[in-house]
Symmetry: C2
Subunit: 426 residues, 2 copies
């Protein structure tokens, strides 16, 4: 993995920030979450790989029930590589959508239930829909078609799984859902699909080794200082992914950045809302959608480009394809030539407009590169949180809505009914 910086952060400014915040970096590296992340990465994926193997022998598909951080990394990993088994993710309770997903599941699927608390309402409801179906299919043997990933110490789901004799994997308490890609949350479904999960961990280890070295060589720290330098003027952070296979990286990043950094309370207890809004873009598709705004709109964004090097050269525009003669200049060109030329057009446009731009090139074995990339983003996020003085690892802002949802669901009186001022019918 190469991380390229344009004028994202000037040399003098970098030196100044590095000196001012030296101790913050050390504190993040020693924080319980980062220590726990390094520990799961060093722990390997042996038991997860074994369980995945066992399931692969019997089932053609895994249905993952989970939402937010419990689903996003599995979806990303399973779609980033050629799959030997498929994964269906149930991460919404829209009944119409769920109906469509349930149709055509067939008989050969296993169920992976992921919720750290063991209480997530959406996950509980969807799992309850599927359990009777599994019992009808497999009778009293149904436990072999289920696997649970939940908090590693206690919780209702863990207790239930133990009682039922269902294989259960743990999520360490210090690792919140959106940082859980290297725990069984991400690794178990990925291994089921045939992803080389030890490669992912190896890549993450390579990135985490940078934490032992000098601040100048820690790419997440250099990037985070740049993010901090742009923070006040630029409320939007664009992740522009140039690889169709990594399209889901956007969703994973959006949750990580939004939920970690969008906070009202500062570490010293004062209240002052902060946060930067993450926006995902996909190249080359969004050159026909968002690039106009990026090039000519307000200078209120930072940009991170992610590019895979060495795309397959197998696809070539044939000679004499028989289309309009005006298309002939493309004949004999590789699709990858066109792809990288388009990427170059985007880079050149953003650089001409002097947009703060950082580029990450994935170049080696993809499992390792992706592992390093995910670790980079997690460290970058944790570093930025410490620089803007918020807790990167909680999410208190959604509790109020959750309480009201539950009250409505069980028929309690609502403290705050929603009223609208005005209505127009069409």
């Amino acid at each position: 993995m190469r991380i390229l910086f344009d004028h994202y952060l000037g040399v003098a400014e970098q030196r100044r920030l590095m000196e001012a915040f030296e101790r913050r970096r050390a504190a993040v590296i020693e924080s319980p979450t980062v220590v726990a992340l390094r520990s799961v990465v060093n722990g390997g994926a042996g038991s997860v790989e074994e369980a995945a193997q066992r399931l692969r022998r019997r089932f053609r598909k895994m249905v993952l029930v989970g939402i937010g951080g419990s689903a996003l990394s599995a979806r990303l990993l399973s779609e980033a590589f050629e799959r030997q088994r498929s994964l269906s993710v149930l991460d919404n309770v829209d009944p119409e959508w769920v109906s469509a997903q349930l149709k055509g599941l067939g008989r050969s699927f296993c169920l992976c239930v992921v919720t750290k608390s063991g209480r997530t309402a959406e996950t509980a409801a969807l799992t309850s829909l599927l359990l009777p179906r599994l019992r009808r299919l497999h009778g009293s043997d149904y436990q072999k078609a289920v696997v649970v990933v939940t908090g590693s110490e206690s919780g209702p789901l863990r207790e239930w799984a133990q009682k039922e004799g269902i294989t259960c994997f743990g999520i360490p308490p210090d690792i919140p859902g959106r940082y859980s890609v290297f725990t069984p949350v991400g690794l178990l479904p990925a291994a089921f699909c045939g992803v080389g999960v030890s490669g992912l961990l190896e890549g993450a280890r390579r990135l985490f080794e940078k934490l032992n070295g000098s601040a100048e060589d820690d790419p997440a720290w250099v990037a985070a200082l740049g993010d901090y330098a742009h923070w006040r003027k630029r409320p939007i952070c664009v992740l522009f992914v140039y690889s169709g296979m990594l399209a889901r990286l956007r969703d994973w990043f959006v949750q990580l950045w939004a939920e970690s950094l969008g906070k009202r309370q500062r570490l010293n207890g004062t209240l002052s809302p902060t946060g930067q809004t993450p926006l995902g873009a996909l190249g080359v598709t969004d050159q026909h959608s968002l690039l106009q705004l990026f090039a000519e709109g307000p200078d209120d964004k930072t940009y991170t480009l992610v590019v895979k090097e060495g795309a397959t050269k197998a696809l070539k525009v044939p000679e004499n394809a028989g289309g309009p003669s005006q298309w002939r200049y493309l004949e004999g060109k590789r699709l990858s030539d066109l792809f990288y030329a388009e990427l170059f057009g985007t880079e050149a446009t953003l650089i001409r407009e002097k947009r703060p731009l950082l580029k990450i090139v994935l170049e080696g074995g993809m499992e390792e590169e992706l592992g390093a990339l995910l670790a980079f983003f997690m460290m970058r996020t944790a570093y930025v949180a410490s620089l803007i003085e918020v807790n990167a690892f909680n999410q208190p802002g959604v509790e109020y809505g959750k309480r009201l949802s539950r009250a409505m669901l069980v028929g309690e009186e609502l403290e705050a009914p929603v009223r609208w001022c005005r209505q127009i019918r069409v």
Copy 2:
């Protein structure tokens, strides 16, 4: 369709803005693009439906080659309803992704090529890949498996189609790609998939009738005045879709808003960048991803919620599902109860935080409702453009990059090579 306003726009402010900008509204309604839109909607979809019928009789799948506005509406419409035929969209030239899409196309597919200019490089390259394959499958009869949608007056693709005897539909010159959902660009693939396209047009007509009436009853105008009132303080515009089937509405809206409003040049010729960044969210999924930022982060966003009323009540959490006892409060509840309770939690959270919020409820037959909704968004966008004094219908910001891409592709010397200041390897 009901459009509900909270304090998105106060009564006094609305009156003031309506008086100040009365003439702008009239100018938009009489603009060539809006006149052309109303004309295609009134023209019906007869010939498109016939062509789609003919293709449906012979082919199980349609492969749409197009990018940006040429693809987004077809994808949205084909996924919003139960499909009788399927649609594959090729809207990226990432060779790895294209390879994966081409695998498993089988033999029973027809090709729909969409590009208004007839010159879009990505579309030309991908079509050139597929034409030889169709000739191998169908010999000299291959034209019956191809349909073209392109500029209605001239252009290389139109001329080629006429020469080859390929069915060709036109896009009126005044309708840019991102406003083309009611032309054959959106309707032909939708009709192929089994969507009732006359219902879509009927819904759009209902919305366009509001343009003949008073300003207070024109929902797009009321919404646009609200958008304008928030414009300076709020650089981000969130579209929060509460329907899994409408997930692609986000992509369609993102292009419409970003490309129409993100402009440097004002109508009077002065240069001053403007634009609001569109951000898509999906309920309930993104309650576990973006809502934390929306609730506790900076008050720099406006919110439009889109909700489908009357979701199916068929799915119920069974009694005695056999999960953890702590999940029992969900037993006997419908999935739709949980879904709408979660939606309520989001609304209540945003209203408690006094976020500018507008809600659109789709309530009747879905084709008509969706038609009205898309027309609403297009008019709202055109109105906002006139208020902030930019051209809603061009996209000059992407020309520079396109020129460089092409130069790189054909091996010309580049005027502006991209150079990076610094690199860190991992």
